[in-house]
Every structure is written in structure tokens, then in C-alpha cells.
Symmetry: C2
Subunit: 212 residues, 2 copies
């Protein structure tokens, strides 16, 4: 349900408010941008996130200025954007990008229960790299305590999507200008082992593919 | 020069404040995330930008809520993030990402001079797709008027960079866990022509490469 704040006002035809649209975008995005307010000024920092049902978890470190502010139950905004292509129109004015973005607004809650925190950490790792959690050395109590996880309900969220070819004005369509889309995606390269590591990388690293 | 607000406090060794570090990150990033405050709440939306010397231009549309707020000379935050890789440590706790990000803070100015606005539009197009501006149909007066461009000085900016292999605790390095980096990059696919377009795509589209 779109709220006053999440209603897409510019290009409303690109807006969507159903979780069937929102969730896959959150799940595919590797990073998010977290916005918060300190002394009336906006700050935006990149971090990582993971969805667990109706909750969006955001990872941080207790030392950061942003998280100190955000932990105090303030409003935050988490935005993820997947860039799908460059849209070349015949006119400069109609150039665009194909993208899928989600904006989540709400009052943040710091996760303090060790069980919920550990589960959220697992969700974050598995969100980025499915299969990794069980292979790595698990967090000990000090590490769990030393990790800050914020939780945001997915109550107030919206998606905005542009896809497809350019939309030129009719008067421009006859111009002898090449028009179309350059698709963009994330391309993983071969894993680079750390010093001292023997053996091939696990399949989830060797065959890493961000497509969901 | 780092200000109180741009000083990197978490992992200070990753912070940088020189334009020789900041500018290439701004120039490589295809999109930015723009943060602003409305009624005390933060909002973060994706948009496109371009640097012109000491000024960062941000593109928008006059109808959007964000730009209505931002045009009034308020403080904004523009953040760009380039994701370079997934960092797999032996311990869950030391997993990370390699990235290059820049945060620019400041009071926004709406560009109203048609000449400056046209130049900023050119910078945005050429920032995304060098060579495109001269081929496409140029903006007319109504289109220039219908475009909102915001300007932000690069006075208050910082970069944060993580690169290289995982940094595991010494006690973990002997664990039989594969560790290393999965490099990530943006991969353009073959251009898809719009209906009615004849002839091959121009070289700047066919050979598009985001690496600077």
C-alpha cells in the first residue's frame, strides 16, 4: 500500500507497491544506500542488507556515526538500485536508463537479541553469496556483539522500474540517429585466492552469478 | 580537506580527501544516490550526475518531490559507490566487499542560467556515454527549461576505499576454508536497436566500456 511518502509522483506509471515486485529487487541488489539525518543534514552511505520475510536487515559497525544516529530509533531510508541499461533516444532529452529501484522508509530498530542477530548475519552472508555461511568460521560471541544489525519493516516501500526501448517524440523518430539500449549487468571474474589458500574455489565462488 | 562531517571515522585508513582520489570515482560511477530531508525525514533516490571541474551536477525533473525540496537551497548528500568485489575471509566476521565510494555534502544550487544548464546536460550525457552528445538531436528551449539541474560544490567530499585480499585474524589463517576475492565489474552487452533503426550502432555504443 503506497503511503504519502512512497507514492511515485514522477513517472507514476513506473511505480509499483506490491511485494512481488519489491522483494526480488531487494534480493538481487548487492548493496544498498542508507540515508539518515544528523542535525538536520542528510547523510547517505553504502552498506549491505538482506531481506528476511517482512524485515529488511542492514549491516553496520557500532563505531560509525550513521549507526549511532540510526540506532536511536530514528527514521531512515534504504534505497537499492539495479542498473539494467543505457537508453539512447534520438533526442538528448529522451535519453534515460533502464533500472529497478526500491525505496524503504521507516523507523529503525537495532537488533539486540543474539539469536535474531546471528540469523540476520546469516541472511546477509547468504544474500550476497549463497552457500558461503556454512563453510566459513562461524561468529563467536564477541563478534556477534561487535556487529550492529538494524531492522526495518517493509511496511512502507515502493519500487520504480524503467525498462524497454527509448520513447522518442514522434517528430524525432525519422531522424537518422541510432537509438536503442545498451544492456548492463554485473560480471564476476575468476576468484582470486588469498595467499596460503590451496585448492580450487568452491562452486558458489567459481560459478558466481548475480542473476536471481 | 576533511570537514567534521566528511571525516571517515570507521576504518579511517580507508578514507581519502584528495581530489586525485575523489574525482575518478565520481567520473566512473554511472549513477549516484541523492539524499535530502523533508519534514525531518531522510529520502534517498537514484539519479545521474556529472562532474565539471569543481562542481558536481545532478540531473532531475522539476516534478519530483525531492527536487522541489532540494531546489530551495537545502543541504543534500550525493553518494556514489563502485562495487569492485566480494571479499571471502576464513571467518564470517571478516567477510567484506571491495569498493570505492565518495560522499559529497553541501548546500545545493539550482542551475537557472540556460547556458550553464545546457553545458551541464552535455556533461551528464558525455559522462555516461562519451561521444553521444553530438549525434543526438540537441535540446530545444522548452526541453532545457523542462530539465532541472542541481549544482553542488566539491568542497566537502570524501572517498572511502577498500581493496585487496581478506584480512583474517592470524588464528584463522590455518583453517581449511577457501578465502579470496571474487572481482565484480559492469559488463555491457550488445546494443539492442530500437524499432525503425537501421545500420550498426556507433562505436561508442558497440564498444561501450565503463572502465576509465
Amino acid at each position: 500500500m503506497p503511503s504519502q511518502h512512497t507514492t511515485v509522483k514522477r513517472h507514476p506509471e513506473r511505480g509499483a507497491y506490491d511485494r512481488a515486485t519489491i522483494d526480488p529487487i531487494l534480493d538481487e541488489a548487492l548493496i544498498c544506500h542508507l540515508g539518515f539525518v544528523v542535525d538536520g543534514r542528510p547523510f547517505v552511505i553504502p552498506t549491505i542488507h538482506a531481506r528476511d520475510g517482512d524485515t529488511l536487515y542492514v549491516h553496520g559497525s557500532p563505531g560509525s556515526r550513521m549507526l549511532r544516529a540510526a540506532k536511536e530509533g530514528v527514521d531512515i531510508c534504504v534505497t537499492v538500485t539495479l542498473l539494467d541499461g543505457l537508453v539512447l533516444a534520438r533526442s538528448v532529452y529522451n535519453h534515460s536508463m533502464n533500472y529497478r529501484s526500491v525505496v524503504v522508509l521507516g523507523r529503525v530498530r537495532e537488533v539486540t537479541d543474539p539469536g535474531e542477530k546471528l540469523r540476520a548475519m546469516q541472511r546477509v552472508v547468504e544474500h550476497v553469496l549463497p552457500g558461503r555461511w556454512k563453510d566459513a568460521r562461524q561468529p563467536n560471541d564477541a563478534e556477534i556483539k561487535g556487529t550492529t544489525i538494524l531492522a526495518l519493516p517493509l511496511d512502507e516501500a515502493s519500487a520504480k522500474i524503467r525498462s524497454g526501448p527509448p520513447t522518442d517524440d514522434d517528430a524525432d523518430r525519422a531522424l537518422p540517429v541510432w537509438a536503442g539500449v545498451i544492456p548492463l549487468g554485473i560480471e564476476p571474474a575468476d576468484p582470486v585466492p588469498d595467499s596460503g589458500v590451496g585448492g580450487p574455489p568452491p562452486a558458489y565462488a567459481a560459478d558466481y552469478d548475480r542473476l536471481t
